[in-house]
Assembly symmetry: D3
Homo-oligomer: 326 residues x 6
């Protein structure tokens, strides 16, 4: 039997397949019938094509402790509509077999082989021998490379899917290349591009992405990816003979200052032009993706407006001008 | 005799040439000698190569009312050093002859013919017939075109020189092209690029740049270039038959929202992805130029640090790592 | 049969009448009975005397697409109490006949004929011939006049009912007259009063008030009533020969700056005393009405306190001191 | 010999008269002559018609300890111009004789007898017997009445002159009357007007206005006029039998909340409609006076703009439209 | 039969005992059965050992008006689990008999006799005779003393239980003693300790703690404990002959400024070192208790994290390092 | 000849001794005499007893490049008074001989031997073997220990003198001990005290205190003492076998979060109770010292008020109540 992908489900479909548990919670259940009131279970299930709400109305207590967020479950039920599609679950159980995680996590829409090639090409483009050695040292570390290729760039806000960190890092490089070309006399291009590639490297220890839900690790919450990333780079630099201390300082500064403002989590603001450019390159990539996600989450087809977004503090509008109209 | 350019002046030089009056003010003058205390005059003089401080210690009252900011003056004196170079003026008088303004205003370092070509190429690249007509209508208006080619993008903060508006607008187009290429399925590229070219068009009525000092006009201070610009565009659109109202609304929204936040002067925040992209494109171009200017204003050669900048709220650091070192 | 007005409904009443649909949404419906869980419909219904919550528990799917916010519906049901009164709907259908909209929209409690007279008297009181011509030109435009007389001043916060814009504008005039009388030597009274009358004129294009729910138009959300209003005035001024440009600039400045601060949506802050006075006149009228509405929404008869209001960020207290007590 | 009033002084005038010392400070004095460098004295001198800058260049050490801010001094010198008029002092000494303070303090431009009559009429208009008794008790206290009639409303920002508190209080009453008339069904007019009259009563202990410079008292700086004022009223209420506690609470709340926001110094925000109305009445009176003062401090006759004002954070513009032009 | 304490209840327990009503509200009740939908009642019940959620699903209308927050009720039901323990109520009625309030209010975990002793010792330690007289006068007032011993320090945030005010005041004294010992040459220790003991004395009139729920009084909401407290102290000082006015002013300043910033409700910021030290002593005691409460409210045993706390704007983490591990 | 200490200098004294150059700058020098205008030099000179302003009026150009901030200079001159004491320099030259730095830097007023003993006692009090090993490892590193004993805690704000870091760290320990004793069941006392001792350890690399002026290092400005400190500790931990990772994480979190808020430079806010307590302990020590310094900088003996302090945003008041008065 074919895998049933979330993006293909329609109202009335019978469902019987494996899904990832992205969120699990209980909600109030009340009734005037003779049975005692109880609870029902609210789930968000996911696979590599998206996520869907699901509800278990009966027998919650029998399964409540049998699976957790991040598990894969075998679900039976049918599709109803309630503020969007929803699976009405008739049976759910934890799947204990081996699973291909990539089937249950949302993944970048970009061609990952293509992105890996671009990553390599960027590394090769670095003229400064120390920075090139550093990048090679980092990306030839199989554990780091594999994580970097797979890690999401965030939990929910932007590029929040497998491969998102790589996609985001390449976008930041792209914007930084453009900025560097405009200020050739002042910007150290190799340094800027190296910082752009590595600025979020600490995220591979900040998110737990070997599971379905990209939850944050303790070290992610207590230390944060800026400081983690700086130390990962320092560790690799220690292995490179004669790495210029001034270059290390400049790179470290870029990593810990790339959030741009203290209230956004940078212990120091960007004080070199490379750090300053990196901050804006990162900002543009993250913000545009965030706005794009809002539009994709659902524009009302009649009005052209999305629902209110609490992070962007606005509804967005998709213009419905057809260019063929001219 | 050769024109003496400001960038070439050295301590001890005798000066006798025409300069523009960028700033004029009086300061306290005290003395324990028998003469009554008085005032001296502090000036900033400029030409197309930069600006220099100047002081008139004697005879202030004789010349105080004879020239104003924005005038060209014939200055005699010699160069001293006091927190940088300074002209010690021995004689100053308003120059009433005809002058070539371009000799007295700072001007973009970019090739303006080249920029004009790029502007034209961008207009030609617009596929949407209405937007193309609009751009052609605007830039074939000699008065607007001439102003657009010459206007500075700001009084002091960024691109504050003749040709700065054009230079800045092209930078914004460049970043917007990159963003548009990353979101081809959603962003209306023609609309975004049109907005990027025109976003600051209102500045040609906000600044008085036919003089030396780019002072703001009354309408600039009371209405501002966002609303002015929107109306200039509306006026041209009224002359284009059947211009789609939805397209006009989308473009108007981009112009008035391009400062991105209400506290930065936009009456509405960007609510379309084109307006949102324009805001970030504008931000990156303006901010990087501002930081670049700070580095150019003077890095201490020993420490690598600039003086404190009250707008960026930091000192900037120029890394002194020589790439040849590797 | 008599019209049943919302303000007269009591617990236990049978209801069968026409109402306007102010808000329509769905909510979760759960049950342990054998029937599948579903949804119920939450409505806010309104007429000219107020609004009331309503619920449809059964057959939601049969009617969900048959009417929308802003429609008039024929409702049958009975009144229950749940955090205030509520209609328990047994039958609901869209009313397709002709309706008198005024029966379904909340309306100012002031005498509108009286207000229209005062509006006229204010126009007549203007001594400056250009400003008087402008006001006459605007208010003799039947489409504008009719809209101005009917438009609400806001969707929810203050004067949010038919006739609210007129009522609010007259209040602002009243406060501005008082201010003008205190600074006769400096304030141009005719200009201030003209600005006070016209400051919110753009709202007639910002709200769609030909329906029950005063929802915002696209141009309202993307451009806003400040810029819209300025342009409506400019359009009329273009038809008045020799209208002094300085006067137009001063009036335009008042319109676009009347929110007083950039973060409140004014692209420029008030820089003339007339603009400054208008800002405070507008503020006082709006804020007092907002506080008054909070008190009217429901003071607890025992404690004297209203519920928490998220806009005013406080509960309000109605002092229960009886003056007869002295 | 006639008193020389500050408003009548012109460049070149010889001066020999009494003035009040509003500010006194020292500044750096340097010279390349053989004499040792020293200091000069910067003074602001005042009388009932205004203030003027003054300088003592010689013999500072001989007089430095002989007079202080708030003293009256006999000054000889002549008028020069330096960023406005300035007295060049040749001789200065403390005046030990009896002086009529009113000759040396700036004073309201309004007719004080007229204002006193209006104060009385307002008191008479109060219908509530307790509030009327309270007002009579307060204003028949000679010490309080005399202070209330003379006290300024602020040190510099608004109504900063003898009689300013009375003038400001009457303005606030006027605006509050207007608001009360618009919300007759809800606002307790007598309470609102009583609060409007008394809201700043604590200022008579906050400022020391028996001297030239309205400096703040220690209690003013450490406790503030809100709490001081509330206690002054409580003290009088204690003497009125059966004063209703609810009325006292409502009035106390008005006094301590009239700055409207915690960050503006109110320990609680206004929670009754009378307190809320008082806050806005106070705001309008204070802010308009502040803007008016900026315009009066000096509009550039050519440009129409005032200098930058750090409190209002803007330059103001006086429109130069002549109504006769129509 | 033994009293059933909340801290001892377990799932499945039958409950039949008296509890305090801490919170009472209604919630939506829906059903697809033939019965009409209705409401259920949400309660928070409390005793001296803690609080617990409770639900009444049937017969709400029969009891809704029979008891209120703050009453003691006789409850029958059984314990279920739903986001923590919950009482499923089968019968509830107001208890009209005499009750020992201390059985129904949460109470400090500290030994209150011990705390009373420390309070007395602190009073005895004051060397300054006026301050000592003041403290003795206040704490020998039986009404004040009894209230001070029992009052909570807040409604919910910190030390929100019977005896909390005393516990908190002693903590503040403790920190202030430490600060005073570090700045012996400057800090008036007796004044600081007196202020520390009395800083929150106004809270005994701000909270109504003779009931179960520590709701705020009208005077608490309209005036606040800073101003109330200052006046209580002033009243006692009036009875002490020759109390030095400077000392009274210094103490008054400490009371009204102890929230430290205007936006936190202090009409003036601390301007003496005693007021400044008191502010920080108060802050440390309150904040640490608030964080401690968050940890006690429930650390997830597996992850070590608490739920999100909206007041502290974070989740807290309890390190699970066992010291025995070393 | 005896060393002339700054604290002993009086007006009229002849000066001839060595001083440290704390600040060096130039200022405008003007004259109406025949000599050309020039510059004078403003200096702040310091020794271990304090700092003093100094002026060089003549011959600036001869010495301007011969010494810098941080050098020791041989100064001849005499004491004048101008806004406090000032050295009028007649001769100044760099001192090239060996100097005892401790004679030229301000130093803590506490007994440093005593403080060192307390430091040792605190280390000995740590029961947890890993934390004790860590502290011993750090403080037995002679380079770190020596720096820790000498480093100032800040450049200007608080504890800005040799030994200030040690003094401040001990104060923070003291407050943390008190907090730990109040929450014995929850706070890990050994961890808290270890964090308190080490929280500012990174400052020994942030300040250059081997010179007179405690200027910041590049790494201090680009990375900051929070991240520097965490890494210094990590480095030592790497040498301790089996150091529990959870303990290291908890300690690291304390170091990087001890500024408490992101806008104050902490990349994460304190999320453990030990980090939270440390933040408040640090805050109290720093703030009280800052206020104390303001009082010491100069209370006006007549009024009791200090000048305005821009960091604390207030003037401070020293109460002049004499306890003997009772």
């Amino acid at each position: 039997m074919e895998k049933q992908f979330i993006k293909d489900l329609k109202v009335g479909d019978k469902v019987k397949d494996l899904f990832g548990v992205v969120k699990k919670s209980l909600a109030n259940y009340s009734s005037s019938s003779s049975k005692a009131p109880g609870q029902f279970m609210k789930l968000v299930l996911g696979d590599c094509t998206g996520t869907i709400e699901a509800r278990l109305w009966e027998g919650v207590e029998d399964v409540i402790d049998l699976f957790n967020e991040g598990d894969v479950v075998l679900v039976e039920g049918y599709i109803t509509e309630y503020n969007g599609l929803q699976i009405n679950i008739t049976s759910i159980e934890k799947y204990e077999g081996a699973v291909d995680l990539t089937l249950f996590q949302q993944t970048t829409g970009k061609d990952r082989r293509e992105m890996a090639k671009r990553l390599n090409a960027i590394v090769q483009s670095i003229g400064n021998s120390y920075l090139k050695k550093l990048l090679i040292s980092i990306f030839s570390d199989r554990k780091i490379y594999s994580a970097f290729i797979n890690c999401p760039a965030a939990q929910t806000i932007h590029h929040a899917y497998i491969g998102g960190l790589l996609e985001h890092s390449l976008e930041v490089v792209q914007i930084c290349e453009l900025i560097a070309s405009n200020y050739k006399d002042t910007i150290n291009r190799d340094l800027l591009i190296t910082g752009a590639l590595l600025h979020d490297i600490g995220k591979i220890k900040e998110y737990n992405f070997s599971s379905i839900s990209f939850n944050m690790t303790d070290i992610g919450k207590l230390i944060g990816h800026l400081v983690i990333g700086k130390e990962m780079i320092d560790e690799k630099i220690r292995e490179i003979p004669n790495f210029p201390p001034e270059l290390q300082l400049a790179l470290s500064h870029m990593i810990i200052s790339h959030h741009g403002e203290r209230e956004w989590g940078s212990p120091e603001v960007p004080k070199t032009i490379e750090a300053f450019a990196l901050f804006y390159g990162d900002l543009v990539s993250a913000k545009l993706n965030q706005f794009y996600n809002l539009l994709n989450k659902g524009v009302d087809s009649e009005s052209g407006w999305t629902p209110w977004d609490k992070f962007l503090e606005r509804s967005a509008y998709l213009i419905n001008y057809s260019e063929n109209g001219d």
